[in-house]
Symmetry: C2
Subunit: 461 residues, 2 copies
């Protein structure tokens, strides 16, 4: 692929090749390590969807769409209400992302599971599939969205697109298309219908509409696959055509990302899981501030000022000085650092509407500043603390927890899952759901997992 | 507005001002001529939606979405099935555009009514509104989408966006938001949620996914307004922000289009209606070929070759040499001209799967060529015919029928409505529906029009 409006000779048939790969892939073709990462992706996503289920963003979305729901075949994870699969994909996609606690493909900052798993699990309640087939489709969807993301990142993201929305819709269409057995031609159409729904702007960060993006791309990708199945046709070269996705929606494209080495290199294996409930770029600062707090204890109250030296993206994405809501707090490295220093916490409770305006937090927040250093690695930070008595302390984080080099262990994923899910469905239900989720590869019917996410009578927190 | 990532000092609060205008406008503020054009827009759109209702594209969409429909409160125009309002907005938007016979805002090639009227009428069946309020909301929606379209055209369209989809979602959100009485803040949110769903690629032209664009933008705009009503928040400067709609989705923007002279200049008054069921840019060629046929009668069979001198956009948009389907035929000026010469017809029957491969049509089609002339007006064409005996004939069309200078009369809109609607719901029902539609301004409940679009038992064609 290259510039606008002219397909150079030899341009690969990206959409066709991608569709053929999706259709032809067998579960056994996926290496064990990739399948294992797919399971970790699913477990982490499920905990986030349950953890976010009571957020006011989800309540608002539900008020709007509930009157239009079809037969209520699909579970809202962590909630008693049910919706049709298309609407459940939307709402579960919102709840899984609303805490900004879900998974991240670090190369592209895509949050892969939201669009893909939300679509696939909602559909699985009316189109039964085994846990193994579910995971195969999930991995295929994640791979497709991350490859498409790689091909247009960073130009596409820099322009202002929220890549989880724009690439996610392809992942959802690919995953659902795989699960329902689309033909090669239908899969090309599904990718085409997905391309024409690719949307989501970074301007929405800090508002409810950010988590709307993975939700809507889940719903739209599911719809794309269902339309293609029903014979609704589309362009068969939607990704690479001169007026197709890649050229229209990005200023540059990397043709090598698709689809040459599909099946040998796996982006789905590179997924990562957040230890903190906010944008991945603030994680080094929170990690460092937590370490400082652990080292100095009550002396945090003696801090006069703090200076952060960060990767430039930290300030570009999370430079809000005075967040007014919890959602905005996730886009303030200043709030996040202050809260980590004073409370030692980066979980969802660090990002509520209440805490972002607490005088104690605000007072420290306003004495934190930051400098962007292009030489700083994305997973690093240097924190310089000056105390009221004039003494100083420097903390350098080489690679933050949750980064590619320091991935969350299964045990850490478990703890994160339990902590957030227990607040919504109670500890016993959270533990039972977690145990069940890890057995997904052996389940005859994956919908069991969705149904187990709802608090039983008497077990609510 | 200007380039990326920097809001220059003095940048107007476009989204806020637009939202305030929408909320504050009263029906009486709309000049009579604009209201009259709004009614013509509605009548023309209704005929197209009924006329397209039996297209295989609509059948396929319906097969996919029917199982997910909520309470079936909304009519599918011209069909016996019913769907919830969101899904009905989708399907009616598809049927109203699938014949490429609907309205056109000539400055931007937006088809304004599809996204707006499809959303509004579907909702009106559960949220009753008078015909007068309906028309006010319709005009507001058309105005908003055309202003947003003006601001980014032609750069946005040239890049490859199908502007009916990308601008249409704003029109649908504005119209529904007006009709349901959103507050100013909610209206800003609705425009923001719309912005993050703005999508649709020109690559899809000639496939079913083209008419999916107005349908999906109708559904998405309706959803945006309903979400905002439920308290789902969004950016309050979604259009003008550095990473908002205009900068992200277009390479250039014209800030004067929004919203300085809203309410004094009316784009909604500039809507036009097609005499032929295909892209507006081919209309001069069809008009000219029909005139030639009327002049020479049976001598059309003696034509050796035809040369068209056209506006460059004609070949860019409709240069398909060998259309394989009726939908592709709409994007072939060669097929359209051949059919007009041999059959004198540019109605939906000129663009069926059957006729595009008829040997007689194909034989003449393949002897037609065309040259783009930048000096040629968009509504003009010069046609040079060479007969087998070596004689020649030249026809110059100064301004084609249906263009700004030669608008369709009410009587022509009536004839177009009856001709296409009668094929679907029978002549008597088509005539009754047409008569009712013209009385919209006086109707206490506009949903009456939707319900009257369905063939009565015994009255089907």
């Amino acid at each position: 692929m290259s510039g606008h409006h002219a397909t150079p000779p030899g341009t690969p048939q990206v959409t066709r090749d991608l569709a053929h790969w999706i259709v032809g892939l067998k579960g056994a073709d996926i290496p064990d390590a990739v399948r294992r990462e797919g399971l970790r992706t699913f477990v982490n996503w499920l905990g986030c969807a349950v953890g976010g289920a009571r957020h006011e963003t989800v309540d608002a979305a539900l008020r709007a769409v509930m009157p239009f729901s079809g037969p209520r075949a699909a579970t809202l994870l962590g909630r008693p209400e049910r919706l049709d699969a298309l609407k459940a994909a939307l709402v579960n996609g919102i709840s899984s992302h609303v805490l900004d606690y879900d998974d991240t493909h670090l190369k592209t900052i895509i949050h892969p599971a939201g669009p893909v798993a939300s679509a696939l699990l909602a559909l699985a309640e009316t189109r039964p599939m085994s846990g193994e087939d579910f995971l195969t489709a999930l991995i295929v969807g994640v791979e497709v969205e991350c490859r498409i993301g790689n091909a247009v990142y960073p130009h596409h993201y820099d322009r202002g697109w929220h890549i989880t929305g724009t690439a996610g819709v392809f992942g959802a269409a690919a995953a659902v298309g795989k699960a329902i057995g689309l033909s090669r031609q239908q899969m090309q159409w599904a990718l085409g219908i997905a391309a024409s729904q690719s949307a989501g702007l970074r301007e929405m960060f800090g508002t409810m509409t950010k988590s709307f993006h993975p939700g809507k791309s889940a719903e739209n990708g599911l719809l794309a696959a269902l339309l293609a199945e029903a014979g609704f046709d589309s362009s068969e070269r939607a990704i690479e055509a001169p007026r197709g996705f890649a050229c229209v929606i990005s200023d540059k494209q990397d043709r090598d990302e698709m689809p040459g080495d599909l099946g040998t290199r796996w982006e789905a294996e590179l997924n990562s899981y957040k230890p903190f409930a906010c944008g991945i770029v603030i994680h080094p600062a929170i990690d460092g501030c937590q370490q400082i707090r652990a080292e100095i204890g009550d002396r945090v109250t003696q801090i006069d000022r703090v200076h952060l030296t960060t990767h430039p993206l930290v300030l570009e994405l999370t430079g809000k000085r005075t967040p007014r809501t919890g959602l905005e707090g996730k886009f303030s490295v200043f709030h996040s650092a202050a809260f980590a220093l004073l409370r030692g916490d980066g979980s969802p409770t660090a990002f509520t509407d209440e805490v972002v305006t607490l005088p104690e937090i605000v007072a420290l927040r306003d004495r934190i500043d930051a400098t962007a250093d292009p030489a700083c690695h994305e997973a690093s930070v240097t924190i310089d603390v000056t105390f009221r008595d004039g003494t100083t302390l420097r903390k350098h984080v080489h690679r933050a927890i949750g980064s590619h080099d320091v991935p969350l262990t299964d045990a850490q994923i478990d703890a994160k899952f339990r902590d957030q899910a227990a607040l919504v469905i109670g500890d016993a239900a959270a533990r039972a759901l977690l145990a069940l989720a890890w057995t997904t590869p052996g389940l005859p019917d994956v919908a069991q997992v969705a149904r187990a996410s709802v608090a039983q009578a008497g077990s609510a927190p």
